[in-house]
Subunit: 484 residues, 2 copies
């Protein structure tokens, strides 16, 4: 695969961003590339934000995108509807005050929902590319749902971004599952295998405009690991070391996934210290974060599969400066492959995701503060937590300098149910909930995971609730008394 | 496949039930066959119930079993732990008063949890069979997790039940997925296809005892459809007729699943009146109920795949009297195939499950009254609701003669989240929640699904909650004021 030096191969309807934006109807449903805050279109959204029409767009991304969409377009009041995830304060505010109708969706099934499921009726796709030909494009720093989106529209606008390093072309593996109801199984036998093409194909008649840009992603900034992060990592490490010894299924390899964010990144990096004997570590997740580069550099990770290079700016530089070497072991897939329930199952993935809070019975809130105010969205955490062979939720036991417990009597929003969660880890310890009844889970969470300052209060709640009896004892009058 | 006339082929360690029961340790973890209230062992559990030792068993079934286990053994105080589902009042009472430690699990992943995931450390499997050989058995009226359970133990007790008609042998298709992390895809290309064997194989050294019985299942009793059932069925029918016209993916076939129980059974039967043009209907679910026999008899259903013949006594007679004909179109699979996320996805299943209550934002409670008291368990509803292309929840808008609304401000136990549920149907109408924000969902549920007697009160709650703002507005002080 060679990226043409000029990045535009063939005759193209090259226009400036304003012209392309002007062709998008004021109330259009726009599917955009982007996942993990990278690989999203930049010039056309900025032009739309400057458009003097009264826009009322529906914007569907793959996952998290940058400020050109979730700040500029939001502040221009141009977005009426937004799917499936947002991570910037202006977008979050608009979702919470009801000015944007937001719908929070699982990553793994979003492509199907758009293409087959009637989630939206799309008008146009605007996607960032490294290069574009007559009937193909090479994606940039993320794949996300771009293949499904390109398949779902008959009008396509491509932003060719010269700021994206051409070495990116080596990472992509674009495989498309067929259409239900006669969809074949995905023929991927190993997380690091390649089964597709480096480019996305499209109907040449669909290509309405090409816009040339030269603007870098606005990538993640990871905070430095906190003391809590390090303590959580140490607890997770010792649990995983015991678990791989216990279960013969991990004799040869351990396939891991970590959630997006600073804690996930810190946990990935901390694995470098773990002793898994001579087992191969393999990553099968949705994002490549900086912590994985450490594991790759130290030879502890055989391969890494994801849908996005969600790296810091420093991590991007590190990857691109040795892209050929990294591309041997790093594969970017469409998000409906990276997060596919069938593959998470077949690979026996151990999933580690973070959360806002966990309740005494193992229900997990990943998205809503006080049950009402959404933060970012469920992302892929549900895909992995639900389908992994072993599902771990990792979080500090408190926030706000200890003023709020993250282990609560009842979560006011459930993203992952008691049926899906196996293990909770905090900086205090590990609660292995497998095989336990709800009452037993509550005891374990109080003694192993809750902060000591909250154990008595949690026990008081449990005692009161248990007086009423029940398999999952609750006192509904006071279940939310800890919520602000 | 011929069932030997004597049903015992080869030399067998035939013993009476008391002797077999006596070999089970007082605190053993016992894996039992059974799903959908049929195909469970009967004689050994009854003998255990009469055992004068102080038993403290862990009992893991495939799904619902009969009174020999969930009544007799429970009333004998012989069960300390129970997985993954129970449906008899004594077992339910014991789970709710805490004398049985119950853990409610998804059907689709339970086999893996037992075999690979460390859910329990099993000692012995006790399974019902139609016939048994040196290293094989033919299951009876359900397959459930019997193949995974037989693979998980080195001690096997088989009950050969002469009351089970030998024609059953024609229904089974036992295919086993390999072990993760190198598990291959399941090579099933069509719901009615056969890819396995009619029997379950086992290590001949594991066969510890064979017990001969002659005792029928205690099968389901379906109530007659109520007016609400008929109104729900009519609403569902008209919605599905529109949906298959709208979405090209249903052009040739519609693959359906219905939940277990009287409402599900009534909905299956009511489909006979639907007009799906010349599309083939195919059933891909977990149980065959009486309603499906009507569709098969009328030639409206091409094939039906499930893991249990959860029929009424009358339905059993009807099936067995024409077993050869029905076996052409009806396939029984292991529960980890019938409920497999990968297959539900590939077949583009339309899933219809019932629930206890639904909240204004589309969260579903399937298991707990008032958040505390478990009824039966989540069963396979989560497998289908999470992985179907279109997930419908069907329920009457009220219970107790209208005294309690099933559309509530907030459910006090979440089994299926807002991320998984597409459509709600009650006798009042249909709320198509796809693509909607939580606030929009609430409006739709109030106007389309709630009983008119509760619409004002729901709107009052919504107005009060929305004053506080938020993507999913709640007023936590009064969110549960409707719960008893």
């Amino acid at each position: 695969m060679i990226v043409p030096r000029e990045r535009l191969s063939g005759d193209h309807p090259v226009v400036d961003a304003e012209t392309a934006a002007g062709r998008i109807e004021a109330d259009a449903t726009v599917l955009v590339s982007g996942f993990g805050s990278v690989g999203y279109p930049k010039a056309v959204p900025l032009a739309l934000a400057d458009d003097d029409r009264n826009l009322s767009l529906t914007v569907v991304s793959g996952g998290s995108v940058g400020k050109e969409i979730d700040v500029a377009l939001v502040e221009a009041d141009a977005i009426a509807r937004r799917y499936p995830y947002q991570a910037r304060p202006p977008a979050r505010r608009a979702c919470n005050d009801g000015t944007i109708a937001f719908s929070d969706r699982h990553v793994g099934s979003l492509g199907d929902e758009v293409q087959f499921g009637g989630l939206v009726d799309p008008d146009v796709a605007v996607v960032e590319a490294l290069a574009v030909g007559k009937d193909w494009l090479i994606p940039s720093t993320s794949l996300g749902h771009t293949p499904a989106y390109v398949d779902s529209v008959d009008r396509l606008i491509v932003e060719v971004n010269r700021a994206q390093p051409r070495e990116l072309a080596g990472f992509h593996d674009v495989y498309r599952p067929g259409r239900p109801p006669d969809r074949e199984a995905v023929p991927l036998s190993e997380p690091g295998e390649r089964i597709g093409e480096p480019r996305i194909e499209f109907d040449p008649d669909a290509l309405e405009a090409v816009v040339e840009t030269e603007r870098r992603d606005e990538p993640y900034e990871f905070r430095d690991p906190t003391d809590d992060d390090r303590a959580i990592a140490a607890n997770l490490q010792s649990f995983l070391e015991r678990e791989v010894e216990r279960a013969p299924i991990y004799d040869d390899t351990v396939r891991l996934q970590f959630g997006v964010g600073s804690l996930g990144n810190a946990l990935m990096g901390a694995l470098a210290a773990a002793d898994f004997g001579d087992r191969d570590l393999v990553y099968y997740g949705e994002v490549i974060q900086d912590g994985l580069l450490d594991l790759l550099d130290e030879g502890q990770l055989r391969s890494a599969s994801a849908t996005s290079l969600a790296l810091s700016a420093e991590g991007q530089d590190r990857l691109f400066s040795a892209a050929n070497r990294y591309a041997e072991d790093v594969v970017l897939r469409p998000a409906d492959i990276s997060n596919r329930p069938a593959l998470i199952d077949r690979f026996g993935v151990v999933a580690v995701n973070s959360a806002l809070e966990v309740d005494l019975y193992g229900h997990v809130n990943s998205t809503h503060a006080n049950g009402s105010r959404v933060l970012n969205g469920v992302g892929g955490s549900g895909d992995f937590t639900r389908n992994a062979l072993l599902s771990v939720i990792a979080l500090p036991s408190t926030i706000e300098d200890g003023d709020i417990s993250r282990i609560v009597p009842m979560v006011p929003h459930v993203d992952h149910t008691e049926h899906d969660v196996d293990v909770i880890v905090t900086e205090q310890g590990i609660a292995d909930l497998r095989g336990t009844s709800p009452r037993e889970r509550a005891q374990l969470l109080v003694t192993e995971c809750a902060h000591p300052a909250y154990r008595d209060r949690l026990t008081t709640y449990l005692d009161r609730a248990t007086e009423n009896g029940g398999h999952t004892p609750h006192d509904l009058d006071t279940a939310f008394s800890w919520q602000e």
